[in-house]
Amino acid sequence: MKSHKRVNHNPIARRDFLKSCARALAGGSLLALFGLTIRKTKAKDASCFWQIDPTKCTFCGRCETNCVKLSSAVKSVHAVKVCGYCDLCGGYYRTNAKELNTAAENLLCPTGAIQRKFVEEPFFEYSISEDLCNGCGKCAKGCNAFGNGSLFLQIKQELCKNCNECQISKVCPAHAISRVPVSNVYHLIDTL
């Protein structure tokens, strides 16, 4: 038998070996992670857009102030097929309105974003001008309290920055904002 001489370990070689092990570990774990997660990526129902569920919304007004945009991406939407076309509209007039005219002190909308148009006796058409709407939800609250609930809040997808975590979804007291897939990107009252 040969005498067992202590072989002088070459530190670089050992380090290289450890490095290869670490590479295999890193590559392997990355592959494993990728494999585990890619099973769940179904492009069809990957929910990466934010939307308000109008049946849960309580019109608290936080959408107006908590959106990362200066003017909130949340806007009031009017489901005309649900609207009663009332003269005394709960979403248009304040509850204490003295006269039913367009004087500012009678109107609910703080920015004058709701337009009222006479259709025929006794019906009036209401529409929202989106540029003026700030998403405060006062009209939706009034309409839900006194009318058919045809005014409601929705996140307008062309305005939404689509943040990874929607700021208003986390301050929404009713947990009404959730991720939705592109196939179901609006929750409209008249189609619910």
Binding site: K19, A22, R23, A26, L30, L33, F34, L36, T37, I38, K40, T41, K42, A43, D45, A46, S47, C48, F49, T58, C60, R62, V68, K69, L70, V77, H78, V80, K81, V82, G84, C86, V119, E120, F123, E125, S127, N144, F146, G147, N148, G149, K156, Q157, E158, C160, K161, N162, C163, N164, E165, Q167, K170, P173, A174, H175, R179, V182, V185, L188
Partner: protein, 401 residues
Amino acid sequence: MNRFPKPDFESGYVYPQQQFVIPNEVLWSYIDIAVLVFLMGFVTWALIKKQIRWPVVLTSVVSIFYFGFFRNGCVCGIGAVQNVVLTLVSDSYSIPLYLLLLFTLPLVFAIFFGRVFCAGVCPFGALQELVNVKNWKISKSVSTVLGVFPWVYLGFAVLFAVTNSRFIICRFDPFVWIFRFGGELPLILFGVLLLIFSVFTGRPFCRFICPYGAILSLFSKISFRQVKITKKECINCSLCHNACPVDAIYPPYQNKVNEIRSKGVHRILRYVVFMPLMVAAGVTIMYMLSDKISRVNNDVRLYDMAMGNETNHSNVLSLELEAFWGREQTLEELAVRVEEVQKGFRIWSIIIGAFFGLVIALKLIHLSTKRGRKVYDISSAECVGCGRCFSYCPQNQKKIS
């Protein structure tokens, strides 16, 4: 709700048509991936093959305008960490493919070429890169202590993501307000402060805050091709060391203490034995704090609010409680849900606590090992690939003359 009947119009009124825009994000997100790969490839070519800096600067500008201002800086690879871990544990959440790619591609590049993503492809790195003028050194002790923070941040981000509570990386993003032209004042101040710091020393966010940078630095430690200051022989002039804004270039060093090898090995072994204690300490601390930490979750906070109202009735309900009672839910249902959430928090706090212990123990072990260097050498974990050292190296200048 139908308080008023649908009106019978006699004047032939037709209902106005409404248009709702369907977003076309899916297409854009794949363009993002293509741009990401192209830019990372470009930076790799510049840093590894050509050893030049201008492509990094160019990439930084492109990245700020494309990923930053054009794509609004959200979503990003840093935040995608949270989506990935949430996907791993949650049944209801599924990550879109491009987001998964946004997370994995920089890591794949890191295994092969180091932190090329940080160099200028990440818009946050790019912002700090472009404002950086000075390269003030930060003392080793300070930078080591601060260097633990990204791991702690990562731990908490994972904890809050897996419990589906918050995405804190997105919440406390210090730079995204630049791309959105506005944001919360504290974050704006923090971002401005970071940018001012990064004028004097390189990349404070990347080195001491960014949790994704921490993962990337781990991967780039073992990368196949690493950034070299020069292809020629180092003449130990120390110019690159002075030029490096992130203190990633280490001077030659010879261990003066001549220690017997076995003694050193034993010392390391002692630390390794000591490691489980650190892990146990981390687990204990995080487990004890888990109920407090769980208050980050909205449901837990709501339950606390409701319980507070039970004992101490108030006529003015908070918006949360109003919404809760309005939904006609019972406190019992909420209690069950909260119990579930808190259980999740307890389990994950243990895991994250163990991780914290491990990180600190490994940092300590790392501090106690000293390795000799004959020439100036880049620590590839810390190098963010800005490429400043190349032009300072006199050996690189030679080929021009």
